[in-house]
Amino acid sequence: MIAELWLGTLRDVAVNAVPTIIVACGLTLVVVTREIDISVGSAMGVLATVLGLLVSPARFGMSLWVGIAAVLVLGAVIGLVNGALVVWGKVPSIIVTLGTLTALQGVNALLLHGEQITQLPSALRYLGVGRIAGIPVSLYLTAIVVIGTMLLATRTALGRRLYAVGSQPDAARLAGLSEVRLKLFVFAFTGVLVGVATLASVSQIAVIEPNLGRGFELVVVTAVLVGGTSIHGGRGSVVGAAIAAIVLEGVRTTLILLRLGESATYWERAIQGAFILIAVLIDLLVRSRRATVRRA
């Protein structure tokens, strides 16, 4: 009985963490190449709105497949715009994604006009509540994304090159690696993953409202950093980020379960901040340990 309760809670936590995990996969690779993308929250908001507008019977009522395709393509486009500004405009990624974060918020507000979209096709809901062999569909999806990204990162030439570029950009250039292509890829890849996460998120929440995605980027970045990715590039684990995302979500759920009530959610952000700092300090320790080894 206890075990059932435990597993049930774990499952719920994991399901809640699905969007975070999916985007964290892509963001890990972005950070590995020494860039950052804080526009993922706003991007998710816009993509959700577009999805809602396209497929809701109360709006354009188009086929769900059209909606899915639009979300994925649009996500890739947003990512490419970010990437292009970084590699060709040579604008630091923090600025680019800070700018797109805002602009997308505006676009989202423009599209929604403060309203909500509640009528969604039931097929979409399947992703959120459906189960196969007792396990929610969204978890299968997440597992595919995580395993796929992990394989990409560790077992493909592209993946290794990403780590190389982040580890030592000059040497990467000398080795003939194209920083432009690699970085465009990670941003676009993250954009597509944001699209996937949007699908998962909307199918769970079933309501599209203006605040969707607010603060999401912070959670994802926390998961990425806590999961062992170094902000200095070259080092990072997709699986680690996924686990960290689950842990963070677990902490949040624990706070609620402990009956701290309303205040629990209020302290959540503070804890996030603390997590980031801890993650960075650990990274610092690892780097200084390496420096000592090298000097010896």
Binding site: Y163, S167, D170, L174, L177, V293
Partner: protein, 543 residues
């Protein structure tokens, strides 16, 4: 130690060499200038397959420029490079690599966060894919272990390079170069930071390469290695080839002579200012010896592993103490610790009797220490700022009245400094990066002279400086010494050390190897003190 057979074949046109094949790397008439300073002029040489070609010369002789051109980092102003008869397009690193040129730099340009396997294969994963997408990591692993074993290296190929010793990292870099089917391997001072056994492992690896028919261009300051390993030696001096012979035809003395031999006189004019240190044979000196008893700078037991250990030295007012040694001996690191940029782990620094807190630059400067760093462009100056701002940067607070900058006083000071140091062109509002190397150095010096220091530490003050400015700087240094400045002069330019120093200290691998008073100091003696365990190595290696 395996005896290394010599390959003295020079391969001239009539040597039965077919056009193209087997000629190796040929460099013809390379020239490169940086803002008026000729880094290279008319340099030609050849590295034949299976041959170890040594490239020697002092710092500033043009070795690194030559290597940069061959490896494609920099384009020359004139000249050509070809591999086996085919010209290599210059200025593109990937093209040089494709032509078969691989370079091992001193600080290996590898990926510290990746392991040996990735370092070997990144960028050239062809043939390692299974099913067209995923990498066959098992095969990659096996090949990496094999490639390293061939070089005598047995490291953990799964650990990130940052956790491996420098010597292993170099081996991995070499293995990567080999796997790229290079024809010629350039090694730029590979042993500078290696211990003896690590160096020997490298030499064994080079033997393997030689047997594979790979030509090597070996740059080193360590003459013992030159004699032990190389077949042919080229000597560069002031950007030109001054000697090019089979190594066996050199003696240590003749090699050093080629490296350094030049007229010393024009650089150190004997003028009225210079009466302080005429040669002893002169007998009568007309000025009282400036060296008083209490040292201005006293360093005791200074240690900062692994850069240097137990350094004890003193500099008296009016004295110029030269600090000589090979690259990597730890001289600059000592200077940095004295100045407070780095914190020493043991030992103390005293200026005029006052002990300095380790690691505090403002305190050292307040006590009267000034450091003109080796890297003038990145450490000595803030290039985008104006000459005026650079000159004033350190003394701003001192000059300020109630925190306000006094325009008139600042202007006068800048004018005085510009004039007395002859900084050209004379516009103080010019950006510092618009000046030539020599004038930039004068700005750095001026910035420090404005603080009226008592101890002046100079680290390679005339590197990349043209002859005219050099002479001016020498005159200035002697003049300052005459006025009581305690000067510590770090230099790899031996005639410079000999011309300016009252005493010469020699560092070797982080420790003080010896001291030579002016009368006994010669270049040969300095080099002999500076070079590590040469005789034993030479004897072991000689066929």
């Amino acid at each position: 130690m395996v005896a290394i057979p010599r390959n003295n074949a020079e391969g001239g046109a009539g040597d039965g060499v077919r056009a193209g094949v087997g000629r190796g790397l040929e460099v013809d008439g390379l020239a490169k200038s940086y803002g008026g300073v000729h880094a290279l002029s008319g340099v030609s040489l050849a590295v034949r397959p299976g041959q170890v070609h040594a490239l020697v010369g002092e710092n500033g002789a043009g070795k690194s420029t030559l290597i940069k051109i061959i490896s494609g980092v920099v384009s020359p102003d004139a000249g050509a490079v070809s591999m086996n008869g085919t010209p290599i397009p210059l200025g593109h690193v990937t093209l040089s690599q494709q032509a078969g040129v691989a370079t091992i730099h001193q600080e290996s340009t590898a990926f510290p966060d990746l392991n040996a396997i990735d370092n070997l294969f990144v960028g050239r994963e062809q043939g390692m894919r299974r099913g067209g997408l995923l990498l066959d990591r098992r095969r990659m692993r096996e090949q990496t272990i094999a490639a390293l074993a061939e070089l005598g290296e047995h490291v953990d190929v799964d650990r990130p390079l940052a956790e491996l010793p420098l010597a292993s990292r170099q081996m991995i870099a070499i293995a990567r170069a080999l796997s790229q089917q290079c024809t010629v391997l350039i090694l730029d001072e590979p042993t500078a930071s290696l211990s003896e056994p690590e160096g020997e492992a490298l030499f064994r690896a080079m033997q393997t390469l030689r047997m594979r028919g790979i030509g090597m261009l070996y740059v080193s300051h360590r003459l013992a290695e030159i004699f032990a390993l190389s077949d042919v030696t080229t000597v560069l001096r002031d950007g030109q080839v001054v000697a090019h012979r089979p190594t066996a035809e050199f003696t240590e003395a003749s090699l050093i002579q080629s490296m350094v031999g030049r007229e010393i006189a024009p650089l150190v004019p004997k003028s009225a200012h210079d009466t302080v240190h005429d040669t002893p044979s002169d007998g009568a000196t007309t000025v009282t010896p400036p060296a008083r008893d209490e040292p201005m700078l006293l360093v005791t037991g200074l240690t900062r592993e692994p850069a240097f250990r137990d350094i004890t030295l003193q500099v008296r007012p009016g004295e110029v103490v030269g600090l000589a040694g090979l690259v990597g001996a730890g001289r600059s690191e000592v200077a940095r610790a004295v100045f407070g940029i780095d914190r020493q782990t043991r030992g103390e620094v005293r200026v005029a009797g006052q002990t300095l807190t380790p690691g505090s630059v403002p305190e050292a400067v307040a006590a009267g220490v000034a450091l003109v760093p080796e890297d003038r462009q990145h450490l000595g100056l803030v290039l985008p700022m104006s000459v005026r701002e650079n000159l004033l940067l350190v003394v701003l607070r001192r000059l300020a009245k109630f925190w306000i900058r006094p325009r008139a006083i600042e202007r006068t000071l800048v004018q005085e400094l510009s004039a007395s140091l002859a900084i050209r062109p004379a516009g103080p509002d010019l950006r510092a990066d618009a000046l030539s190397g020599g004038n930039q150095q004068k700005v750095v010096l001026g910035k420090w002279l404005a603080t009226k220091p008592r101890v002046l530490v100079l680290d390679e003050p005339t590197r990349g400086v043209d002859v005219g400015a050099k002479a001016e700087l020498y005159r200035l240094i002697r003049q300052l010494a005459g006025e009581g400045m305690a000067t510590l002069l770090i230099s790899s330019d031996l005639p410079e050390i000999l011309a300016l120093s009252d005493r010469v200290l020699v560092m070797r691998q982080g420790m003080l190897a010896g001291e030579l008073p002016r009368a006994e100091a010669t270049e040969e003696r300095i080099l002999a003190l500076a070079m590590p365990a040469d005789i034993a190595l030479r004897e072991r290696v000689a066929s």
